[in-house]
């Protein structure tokens, strides 16, 4: 069974990471057949995220074996002490060895260059040693999952440094990143700089990115639970927001951890949903919005309703409108349910394709479906949709605008040039431009193919003729 290593970087990354470990333990606990800890078995699905360690002999046990001490497969990185210290004081502290924490005291001052260049170099050896140590404890390492924010200094800078380090050390292992993009009225002024600089690294070194936008998370939470709104003093419902992201990772890996009629391994997700190496940004949405531990009364009862909601922008973790502009390049759905059958899924997908979803002409069958029979903890089912859609260029355009407003005046740039050159800014912006262009290209090529087809409806849908065999 494949194993994954979680790398949580920075304050935001650490908090989401902790929520993730909490939820993962709860999920596995609810699946155990007995509540007696001595009888619980460490099985293949647990080994995806945890090691089973015999503290006395200091060895790891492979599955199946009775659970002794579970240790998380994780690397926790922060350049400030606050969050890591609180983890060590929480009940989760037993999940981690001391060596899994890589920390410093002074923080990165919301500066990507400090995080990436300064701390990157300083901790390069330590980071690669710890990563290697974690990787060697895995039988078959399938992916690295990185969680960090894009607006700050540590998460953004050091997080992306770690990403490029992972690419160097383990190029064949899948790298999936869940970056948290800052909201428009984020209180960190330099967040556009940090985000754009980090996006460049993400584009070049990640296999698959599931971007999350703080604004959307707040929307989801406030829409689904009217009592929790952004309070007057601007405090966000961070707890609920973190839960949504943590559940995203859990649901993503559910099909590779648990059984089901149609399994989707993590490595199959980029294989099927990412046709071009740079265009690996997937818009995710989860139904029902998983931010409460208890059952949500607004869960739709009808299967068809679930699928209709899947396309609704209300549940997306990014503020884009796929139904209105742009085109689907590929789409994946992972359903966790005991009762829903493959035939239901196929039927609904056919309906959706017909009415609501516009796919590129050359990839009309660009669907990847996974069905897992283990529903999430506390819910009867859950549907995770991952869409590779060109409307994400809107997100990049907005980011570029915010970046340009600051960069035009070279505001705050001098903080960065201590550790990097001005040229890096230019390159990062260029990268964004190229991304936006590439997505636009796909839309335009598709329109061309569309018009040629309409003119000559008898000719095949591709404008490149097939090979002709001369006899």
């Amino acid at each position: 069974m494949a194993q994954n290593i979680i790398v949580q970087v920075g304050q935001c990354g650490s908090q989401i990471g902790c929520r993730f470990w909490d939820l993962a333990l709860r999920e596995h606990a609810s699946l155990m057949s007995s509540t007696d800890p001595k009888k619980c078995i460490y099985d293949a699905s647990l080994s995806a995220f945890f090691r089973n360690v015999d503290e006395n002999k200091n060895t790891s046990l492979s599955y199946p074996s009775p659970i002794r001490t579970l240790k998380a497969r994780a690397v926790l990185v922060d350049m400030e002490e606050g969050v890591l210290r609180s983890i060590l004081a929480s009940p989760l502290r037993d999940l981690f060895d001391g060596e899994q924490f890589i920390r410093d005291v002074s923080g990165a001052g919301n500066n990507w260059a400090v995080g990436n260049r300064f701390y990157g170099e300083k901790y390069r050896q330590i980071l690669s040693d710890e990563i290697r140590r974690q990787a060697e404890q895995c039988d078959s390492l399938q992916s690295f999952m990185l969680i960090h924010s894009m607006g700050g200094g540590t998460g953004s800078g050091l997080g992306t440094f770690i990403l490029s380090l992972l690419d160097e050390m383990y190029p064949k292992v899948c790298r999936i990143v869940t970056p948290i993009y800052p909201s428009k009225d984020d209180d960190v002024i330099t967040s556009p700089y940090n985000s754009v600089l980090a996006t460049r690294v993400l584009t070049e070194h990640a296999d698959c990115v599931l971007p999350v936008d703080n604004d959307s998370l707040i929307d989801i939470v406030s829409r689904c639970d009217s009592s929790t709104k952004k309070n007057d003093n601007g405090r966000c419902p961070f707890d609920s927001m973190n839960t949504i992201v943590a559940n995203l990772i859990l649901n993503l890996t559910s099909s590779s951890r648990f059984d089901g009629p149609l399994n989707v391994d993590l490595s199959e997700i980029p294989m099927n949903l990412v046709p071009y190496p740079r265009l690996h940004y997937l818009i995710s949405s989860q139904i029902p919005a998983p931010f409460k531990m208890t059952t949500n009364s607004s869960i739709p009862r009808n299967i068809n309703q679930i699928f209709r909601d899947a396309l609704s922008p209300h549940f997306q973790t990014l503020r884009v409108r796929p139904q209105i502009d742009g085109i689907y390049i590929a789409c994946g759905m992972i359903l966790r349910s005991k009762t829903i059958q493959m035939s239901d899924i196929r039927r609904n997908i056919d309906l959706l394709k017909l009415k609501h979803m516009k796919f590129v002409k050359w990839n009309e069958d660009g669907w990847k479906v996974g069905l897992c029979i283990v529903p999430p903890n506390g819910l009867p089912y859950s549907l995770l949709t991952l869409a590779n859609h060109t409307c994400i260029k809107e997100t990049f355009s907005e980011l570029k605008e915010r970046f340009t407003i600051l960069y035009r005046r070279k505001a705050h740039v001098h903080h960065y040039t201590d550790h990097m050159e001005l040229g890096d800014f230019e390159q990062a912006r260029e990268n964004l431009n190229q991304l936006i262009e590439e997505y636009k290209n796909i839309e335009q090529t598709n329109e061309l193919l569309d018009t040629t087809e309409n003119k000559n409806s008898s000719i095949a849908t591709t404008n490149i003729p097939r090979l002709n065999v001369l006899s």
Partner: protein, 446 residues
């Protein structure tokens, strides 16, 4: 004379297990016994003896399947080998012949192919173990699906290895073509690459299509009166019944029990035409079988109409089509008749299948079709069973579809970087395109 089955990937393993179960079931159906025992009827004795010898290693009352179980994920292998499944069966798999990987191939043909080269030594060792425990092995039967990464990529590598290791053996590959509407986005790439590699290394490709199996399964489920959706077991069952109908012993006028490669030599006259399809009648659910009787002429007539309509199912046939309006042409047809009667069917066959229009012009009329019989035992619980193996144009439409869709993706250079990562480059793709286009063209010209 033994056959070794290679179960490659998830589909291969599920079907392979079903095959062995069905073979045992068939060997038991001449009587209502639950244990295999030698009866007084010597011809059935022969049948059972040959069938067991062909597919199982017998030692001290234990049956071990002549099979290699190969997969890169643990889930299916665990299901096959766990205690519960083993206890339900009369036979078992040999642990030395189970080759498992841990990481899967991620629907990536190139990754599967690479996994093949990593596992080559283990696979060849297991193969040699099987060869040592058989007197003579002439036929190797890989079973794989085209859509995923393991069955297709690893499967292609394994078939090439086996061809190198046993150059004179007969390699009959059973392939399952995925649903048109897609299980895996890159399935057409995977199918294309596998087909071209297999066409090069294997002697024959027996083609099954998921779309058709699904239709067939739906029909059977609706006949049975139970209202439930079809599932993968139904489809596997149908495939296995078809497959076993020609894997079991059969004879012709001159030879008492014919070997599989001898059988298929007659349908493979030309090394460039390797695609085989299998049509069988009657097509009934188990419940309906008890209540139906058939005679040979109606079976043969239905079969001929199925052929003319280019269909695998005996429903929605256009009975008004005449033989000269046939929608498919073949190079050769092979009939396998199994029943417990000794009726002569030559006349009916001649009446319905001796039409020039059915066959390509370069075939002479004496080679149109061949008939093999086993008339001392019925097949499973079918009173009469007739299988038609054709080397015909029917599977070409599936190939055409695969090439069309792959070409569209290839034209946009989509998904190629996943393959480059494992050293499969554009040239490899182009070679495959060329190879399969040639196959399509030569079949279309029949």
């Amino acid at each position: 004379m033994s056959c070794i089955i290679l179960q490659l990937g998830q589909c291969g393993n599920q079907v392979g297990q079903c095959v062995f179960d069905t073979l045992i079931e068939d060997n038991l159906t001449h009587s209502n016994q639950t244990k295999l025992s030698i009866t007084n009827d010597s011809s059935i004795n022969d049948y059972i003896r040959h069938s067991l010898d062909r597919f199982f290693i017998q030692y001290e009352n234990k049956l071990t399947a002549r099979a290699l179980v190969i997969d890169t994920e643990l889930k299916v292998i665990e299901q096959l080998m766990n205690e519960k499944s083993q206890s339900k069966r009369h036979w078992s798999y040999e642990k030395k012949c189970v080759i498992e990987g841990r990481l899967g191939s991620g629907n990536n043909w190139a990754c599967g192919y690479r996994n093949g080269s990593l596992a080559e030594e283990n696979i060849l060792n297991s193969l040699r173990w099987q060869l040592e425990h058989a007197d003579r092995v002439d036929t190797i039967l890989p079973i794989l699906s085209l859509a995923g990464g393991t069955g297709s990529g690893l499967g292609a590598y394994v078939v090439e290895c086996v061809r190198d290791e046993l150059p004179r053996s007969f390699l009959l590959t059973t392939i399952v073509v995925p649903y048109t509407s897609g299980e895996v986005v890159v399935q057409n790439y995977n199918s294309l690459l596998t087909l071209s590699h297999l066409y090069h290394s294997a002697d024959a490709l027996l083609v099954f299509e998921n779309d058709i199996l699904q239709q067939y399964a739906k029909k059977l489920v609706s006949y049975s009166g139970i209202d439930r959706p079809t599932n993968i077991h139904d489809m596997n069952n149908i495939l296995t019944r078809h497959l076993c109908s020609f894997l079991q012993p059969i004879s012709n006028k001159t030879i008492s029990i014919c070997e599989i490669n001898y059988l298929l030599e007659s349908v493979l006259p030309h090394s460039f035409y390797k695609l085989l399809t299998l049509r069988c009648v009657p097509q009934l659910s188990d419940q309906a079988l008890d209540f139906s009787t058939y005679n040979w002429s109606s079976l043969i007539k239905t079969l001929s109409q199925m052929y003319i309509n280019n269909s695998y199912l005996d429903e929605r046939l256009n009975w008004l089509l005449k033989p000269n309006q046939t929608r498919t042409k073949s190079i050769a047809n092979l009939f396998l008749a199994r029943s417990y009667d000794k009726e002569d069917i030559d006349k009916d066959l001649k009446q319905y299948f001796n039409h020039e229009t059915f066959y390509s012009s370069f075939i002479s009329s004496s080679d149109y079709y061949y008939l093999f019989n086993y008339r001392d035992k019925s097949y499973l619980n079918y009173e009469k069973y007739l299988s038609l193996i054709s080397n015909c144009q029917t599977p070409v439409s599936a190939l055409d579809r695969i090439v069309n869709k792959s070409w569209q993706l290839f034209g946009q250079k989509a998904y190629l970087h996943h393959y480059y990562k494992y050293d499969i480059d554009e040239q490899e793709f182009l070679n495959s395109f060329v190879q399969i286009e040639q196959v399509i063209k030569s079949y279309n010209q029949l």
